[in-house]
Symmetry: C2
Subunit: 112 residues, 2 copies
């Protein structure tokens, strides 16, 4: 694999890591500051081993970093700029939802 393909792969890996509801939710939760694994588990509700694996994927992608303090491991945001593009995605999704709602209400009206 040449350097360009590797570079492309690294970028895609970041998006892939964010492309799962639980992982995205945890990343959003970390905007406010670091959290231990058990706190993050409470956020998403799945088995703690599942959460641990998700966190590792985010760490491997470079989005999060971790630090052990005592028996806990705290994860925090390493790639700060995700916050920017998450807000842009939220706006976009919000717009799409509004459009869908508008279309739905119109089809209701026309079917009366």
């Amino acid at each position: 694999m040449d350097a360009n393909a590797y570079y492309l792969e690294l970028r895609a890996k970041i998006f892939k890591a964010l492309g799962h509801p639980s992982r995205l939710k945890m990343v959003e939760g970390l905007f406010e500051g670091e959290r231990c694994v058990c706190e993050l588990q409470a956020m998403v509700g799945s088995d703690i081993s599942t959460v641990s694996k998700h966190l590792n994927i985010l760490k491997e992608a470079g989005i999060l970093q971790d630090e052990r303090r005592g028996t806990n491991i705290y994860y925090s945001l390493r790639m700060k700029c995700v916050a920017n593009f998450l807000s842009c995605v939220e706006d976009f999704v919000g717009q799409r939802l509004e459009e869908q709602i508008k279309m739905l209400s119109q089809s209701k009206l026309s079917s009366r």
Copy 2:
């Protein structure tokens, strides 16, 4: 599924769509303007049916839109703000690569 979970899912879907090398490459290629499927195929090199499916994933996520003109179908960027966050990701990945290179050269020095 409640509204929040659905909303989360929609956002994750966008990242998931961008989380594949071929799809990311095509999206980047579309920054400059619309392209037909055959042009996009040339960019990534896989079978045209594979490319078509990738494009559909990006369209379903809301990132791209398509328009038929004659026998060609032209895809273009619908979610303009991806450009912003892609540049942030590029910077980030570039930094990480530099760090890795630095670490590699240091370990070479120390092993002499």
